[in-house]
Amino acid sequence: MKLLLLLLLLVINNCFADAFCSLRDPVSQINTLYPNHESYLSFVKKIDNQTRKIVQENLPNNDLHFGELGQHTLYVVVEKQNTVGYVHVRSEQSDWGLVEIVWAIDVNFNIVDFTFQRCRSPEKAELVKNEFKKVIIGRDFEQLKQYLAKDGISANQTLFSQINTDSKLVSVVLRCALKTLLLTKVVWHDELKELAQQKL
């Protein structure tokens, strides 16, 4: 009975609007981001209202979509028995509905690459070009935060001056990158620290 109660307590706020059988691992995207990888290791953690507050404190005027709460997976990518990075999927609301981006992050929490899992905007073609990617790739949370305008949600002129597009999608990708780096560091801190000590 105690076990049952414990399990019931564990599930509060852990849910997902759809049945769990609809969950899909981003296998092809991991293959694209890390073509030489051998395997991956999943860590499922809860993103709750407390996490939401951390986002609001570190990124004022930002919030998480309700679909971003609940339990989410960080994939630790393994090559030659070593952790080479992490993969995490985040959604961000845009003028074309939710944009889902698969992020590759290195062990020092810098962006390595990204790919769109879902984006209904025709402007996404501009953002997968190297010109835009090189502005994002290699940056950590603090460096990317420098690209935020005063409103806290738009990209600033420093970023736009380096690229040949004024698409609104640029701000969406920037916000998504910032939230991904912040949440990965905060939510999966203990697991990643333990993993680093274990040395696969």
């Binding site: 599930v11 706020n13 293959n31 990888h37 051998e38 309700f66 709460l69 939710l98």
Partner: protein
Amino acid sequence: MNHFFGYLILLLVSLSAPSLANFTDNLRWSVDNSVRLNINNTSNMDSRNYFIGIDTHKVFNDQKKDVGYSVIQLYYTKLSNQVPFPFMFRHSNDEQFIIREAHYNFLSNLNSLMPNLRVGHFTLPFGLEDSQDTNGRLLDYGHGKNLGTKLDWGLLANKVHKHFEYKLSYSLGGKDDLKSNNGSYIVSARISTLSHLDFNFGLSVYKAKLDSQERERVAFDMKYHIYQWTIKNELAFANTANNDSHYWLFELNRLNLNEQWKVYLQYIFEDNQHQMQSEQKLVLGTRYTPNNHWDFSMQLKQQFQHPENKNELELLQAQLRYRF
């Protein structure tokens, strides 16, 4: 009720792990409750369905990599005045513990050609349902009606490659029972482009002996997302007990910007060799999801052309669902 303890043991065995700490690692677990109201204007009958279930998803790993995952869904289901009632029930007011999905997926090495292997009770890989799960929703793609059963016990090979993905299953044809009935079996397969892409298309084949009938079906399906709109199509050619038929489903749906609202319209055409008149119907529905817990949906099915020996269907359904 007779199988309750068997199902419970299956659930516990399926979720077993070396320790309690490992048991809760990578475990998603939710209580899923819903009530559905069906107003059938054809027969002037109302019915209700009640579902209370446990929905679980657990990833297993060996400290170096993921080795597999399980999905277990066990639901207490109560019918009230449901006519006709599904095959797993004994009468129109029956109640049963129903296993929906209950399978373990063994993961193979990512870069190898070896497929992953799913064992258990799973949704048959065929058509639009394969890339758009409708479990527990009003919206569906006629999987159970078209294939004879939506789920079955068996083995399923599956893999996502760089440019395509596939599933191939062999199952016993016992539907909810873990056995073959009078030589029943089902072979079902779908190969498609990657399901997360904006434009996705697939080819499905199905061959079975089910309910003592030989059944064959081939289908081509596609979906295309643009802005908040999605278009879906499924065109199928079937033969059931030497009776040819063909089927076309077209769907147009739209999500609002934060994706709390969805509206959809389906047109379904079915032409059967043994019927003088083809069947045509429209399904208009909406779904509202204010957060991760609540889900309200409503749909109207209106048949506007039907075979002479059948009555015109007009069915209004509403469902309230709460997951915690």
